[in-house]
C-alpha cells in the first residue's frame, strides 16, 4: 500500500541546508499496525508529513495505492489526503465553532458527498467511536478524550486507506490515553491500516511493527513481541 524508496527531504533555514530525511525506504502493507518512533528532531515529523501527503520529498519516490504521490501538485495532494488519509492529531485540530457532527461532516464536504448521505455517515462514524450521545456539542464543551474521539470519527468518515495518528495521547491523561489506544487497537482488528507516530514507547508498543528513526534515518524496523501486548495496561 505504502511504498517509499530513497526518500530525502532537505530544508533551507537561514541559508543553512538541513537534511531532515536521508534516503529512507519504507513499505507498509494494507492492514498493518505500525508505529514510527523517534525523539524530537529525529525526522519522524518530516516522515509523517510525507506519509500523510502534506508535503513532497526533495528526492525519491512515494507510491500510495500505486499512485505516485511524490510528483503530485498541491491540489492533487489535497484530494489524496481527503480520500486516503485519516489524520488524528495530538492537539485534535477540530474547528472550535462547529459541532462534533459538523466537524465529522467536513471531509465529506470536500469530497463532494451528497448532503443527505453526509449526516447519516457522520452519525455512524461518531457512533463507532462511542460518541453518539454528544454529536451536537462543540469541541469546547467536551473533554480531551471526547475531542480525540471526534477527530478519530472525522478521520474515519471518508473510509481512508490509512489512519495516521500523530502523538494521539500526547494531550490526554493516562486513563483516557488507554481508552484511545484501545480504540486504535480495535480499528486495527477491524482491518484498518494504522500508523502511529510517537516518541512514547508505551504507545508505540501497541503496534505490531515498530520503525525507529534517528537523525533522519531508519535505525530499526521490527515486529513487536506478542507478549508485550495486553491491551490497555501498557500506558
Amino acid at each position: 500500500m505504502i511504498k517509499m524508496e530513497n526518500l530525502s527531504k532537505t530544508y533551507k533555514m537561514d541559508g543553512v541546508t538541513v537534511e531532515a530525511l536521508k534516503r529512507v525506504s519504507l513499505d507498509i502493507k494494507a492492514g498493518e499496525y505500525v508505529s514510527i518512533m523517534g525523539p524530537s528532531g529525529s525526522g519522524k515529523s518530516t516522515l509523517m508529513n510525507l506519509v500523510g501527503c502534506l508535503d513532497t520529498p526533495t528526492t525519491g519516490s512515494y507510491h500510495l495505492d500505486d499512485q505516485l504521490v511524490s510528483e503530485m501538485d498541491d491540489d492533487q495532494l489535497a484530494v489524496v489526503r481527503n480520500k486516503k488519509i485519516g489524520f488524528v492529531f495530538q492537539t485534535f485540530n477540530l474547528l472550535p465553532r462547529s459541532s462534533a457532527l459538523q466537524n465529522v461532516e467536513l471531509p465529506m464536504q470536500y469530497a463532494g458527498v451528497d448532503v443527505k448521505i453526509r449526516k447519516s455517515r457522520a452519525v455512524a462514524s461518531l457512533e463507532s467511536v462511542g460518541l453518539s450521545h454528544r454529536i451536537h456539542h462543540k469541541p469546547t464543551e467536551m473533554s480531551g478524550g471526547e475531542r480525540q474521539r471526534v477527530s478519530i470519527a472525522r478521520a474515519l468518515v471518508n473510509n481512508p486507506a490509512i489512519l495516521l495518528a500523530d502523538e494521539p495521547t500526547g494531550n490526554l491523561d493516562s486513563k483516557t490515553g488507554v481508552e484511545i489506544m484501545a480504540l486504535f487497537d480495535r480499528l486495527h482488528q477491524e482491518g484498518k491500516t494504522v500508523i502511529l507516530v510517537t516518541h512514547d514507547q508505551r504507545v508505540g508498543e501497541h503496534a505490531r511493527r515498530m520503525v525507529r528513526i534517528l537523525d533522519g534515518e531508519i535505525v530499526s524496523d521490527q515486529q513487536v513481541k506478542k507478549n508485550n501486548l495486553d491491551n490497555g495496561s501498557k500506558l
Binding site: N49, G52, L54, D55, D74, D75, A78, V79, R81, N82, K83, F87, F89, N93, L94, L95, R97, L106, P107, Q109, Y110, A111, R154, N158
Partner: protein
C-alpha cells in the same frame, strides 16, 4: 463544498464578529445608499421638471431679447440688444402662416394691497386675452379679460391663488378693489392653483391687460434681469408638426424687422420647453456624474475596509485553514470560502444601503413632494457593485489563505 454551504459558513464567520463586520460594511452601505437615494431623487427631479414644463405648453416658443442666459458673459453680450415690442408680436401674428396664436407679455414685481392686508413681490404679468389659451391657465371663478378690457386699458386683474388667500382669506374677492403697485384694480377672475416650481410659488402672480400694464407701469418697468423692459412673445404654432416651420418664420420676420444683416447671428432668442428640459437634463446628468464619482470613491474606501478585515480574518484563522487543508480542501475550496465571505460582507452592506436608500428617497420625496421612484436598474447597480467590490477586494486575502502551507498552518498557534 457547494456555494450555499460557503454562504452559511460566511454568515457564521460574520456573525461571530458582529461589531467588526458591521463597521466594515459601513463604507459599502454608505456608497450604495447614496447611489440609490440620489438616483431616485434625480429621477424624481427630472419628472417634476418635465411635468412643470409641459404645463407651459411643449410646442410654445418663447421669443426673448436675450434668450436663455447661461452665463454672466452671455448676459453682458446680449443686454445691449434692442427691446422686443408689442408691435413685433402683432407682426408675427399677422405675417407667419404657421403660427396659431401670439401673446406679448410684460412683467414686473409689485406689492399688492387689500385693506390692511398686503402681499409683497407679486409677479404682475401684462398680456393679451390669447395668452390664456397659449399658457393653458384655468379660471376657476369670475371671467377672463376681454378685448374690450384691452382696448380701454381697463384696470382689471386676475389673481393667483396665493394672492387670494393672503388678501381675502374666506371673503369673495370678485368685484373688490385691490391696489397693485399703487394703482387701483378691480378683481375680475381667479386663477386655478399651479403649485410651486423649484421652490418658486407660481401662484403669487397677477394677470392684467398689457395695455393697462404699459399705462400704469411704464415708468417702473424692470431694468434688471433677462427681460428688462423688453416684451416676451409667446408663440403657439398651428400644431406639433409646424413647430420648426413657425420658428423659421418668426426668425426670418424678426431679423427683417430688426434689420439684422445676413452675415450676423440673430439678436434675439427663441426658447422652447424642450430646450429648457434639455438644459435641466444636462444639469442633472452633471450631478449624476458627480454622484457616480462620489459613490465609486466610497465603494473604493469600503472595499479597502473589506480587504483589511479579510486579511485580519485570514490571519486569525490560519489554524482553521491548516485543518481544512489537511483533511482535503483544495486551493479553490479555500479561495471560494474567503471570497464568498468577502462578497457576503459586502452584500450585507449593499442590501442594507439599498433598503435605507429606498427609505431615504421615500422620506425626501414625501417632504419636498418629488415623485421619486427607485428604478429596478439602480437596484441591480447597487447589488452588482457591492458584489463586484467583494470579489475584487476579497481576492487577495483569499489567495493568501489558499496559498498557505498546510504544515505551517497546522503548527500555527
Amino acid at each position: 463544498m457547494n456555494i450555499w454551504e460557503s454562504v452559511r459558513l460566511a454568515f457564521g464567520a460574520i456573525w461571530a464578529h458582529k461589531l467588526r463586520s458591521g463597521l466594515t460594511t459601513l463604507g459599502i452601505l454608505i456608497g450604495v445608499l447614496t447611489v440609490i437615494g440620489m438616483l431616485a431623487l434625480i429621477d424624481g427631479f427630472n419628472k417634476m421638471i418635465a411635468k412643470q414644463l409641459s404645463s407651459l405648453g411643449t410646442t410654445t416658443l418663447y421669443v426673448q431679447k436675450q434668450g436663455l442666459v447661461m452665463s454672466h458673459d452671455d448676459w453682458l453680450n446680449t443686454r445691449g440688444r434692442k427691446n422686443l415690442t408689442i408691435e413685433d408680436a402683432y407682426a408675427i401674428r399677422d405675417n407667419c402662416p404657421s403660427v396659431l396664436r401670439v401673446a406679448p407679455i410684460l412683467d414686473n414685481m409689485a406689492n399688492v394691497k387689500y385693506g390692511k392686508q398686503e402681499v409683497l413681490g407679486t409677479e404682475v404679468n401684462g398680456t393679451t386675452p390669447d395668452y390664456q389659451f397659449i399658457a393653458d391657465y384655468e379660471i376657476i371663478d369670475g371671467r377672463a379679460m376681454s378685448n374690450v378690457d384691452m382696448v380701454h386699458s381697463r384696470a382689471v386683474a386676475m389673481l393667483g391663488s396665493t394672492v387670494v388667500e393672503k388678501l381675502f382669506g374666506q371673503q369673495d374677492p370678485l368685484g373688490k378693489e385691490v391696489i397693485i403697485g399703487g394703482n387701483r384694480f378691480e378683481v375680475i377672475g381667479l386663477l386655478a392653483k399651479k403649485g410651486s416650481f423649484l421652490g418658486n410659488d407660481q401662484d403669487n402672480m397677477i394677470i392684467i391687460p398689457i395695455s393697462t400694464f404699459q399705462k400704469m407701469f411704464s415708468g417702473q418697468v424692470r431694468t434688471r434681469g433677462p427681460r428688462s423692459g423688453s416684451v416676451t412673445i409667446a408663440v403657439q404654432p398651428l400644431d406639433v408638426a409646424h413647430v420648426e416651420k413657425a420658428r423659421d418664420e418668426v426668425t426670418e420676420l424678426l431679423r427683417r424687422r430688426r434689420k439684422v444683416p445676413p452675415s450676423k447671428p440673430d439678436d434675439f432668442g427663441i426658447v422652447t420647453a424642450d430646450q429648457i428640459m434639455g438644459i435641466f437634463k444636462k444639469i442633472t446628468a452633471g450631478v449624476f456624474g458627480l454622484m457616480i464619482g462620489v459613490t465609486l470613491l466610497s465603494l473604493l474606501v469600503g472595499g479597502i475596509g473589506i480587504m483589511n478585515i479579510m486579511l485580519v480574518s485570514v490571519n486569525e484563522r490560519i489554524k482553521e485553514i491548516g485543518i481544512r487543508k489537511a483533511i482535503g480542501a483544495r486551493k479553490k475550496d479555500i479561495m471560494q470560502q474567503f471570497i464568498i465571505e468577502a462578497v457576503t460582507l459586502s452584500l450585507v452592506g449593499g442590501v442594507t444601503g439599498m433598503i435605507l436608500g429606498f427609505i431615504l428617497a421615500g422620506l425626501v420625496s414625501l417632504v419636498i413632494k418629488l415623485p421619486a421612484t427607485v428604478s429596478w436598474w439602480s437596484v441591480l447597480l447597487g447589488f452588482g457593485f457591492s458584489a463586484a467590490v467583494g470579489i475584487f477586494f476579497g481576492w487577495y486575502p483569499a489567495q493568501r489563505a489558499a496559498e498557505l502551507d498546510p504544515i505551517e498552518a497546522l503548527r500555527y498557534e
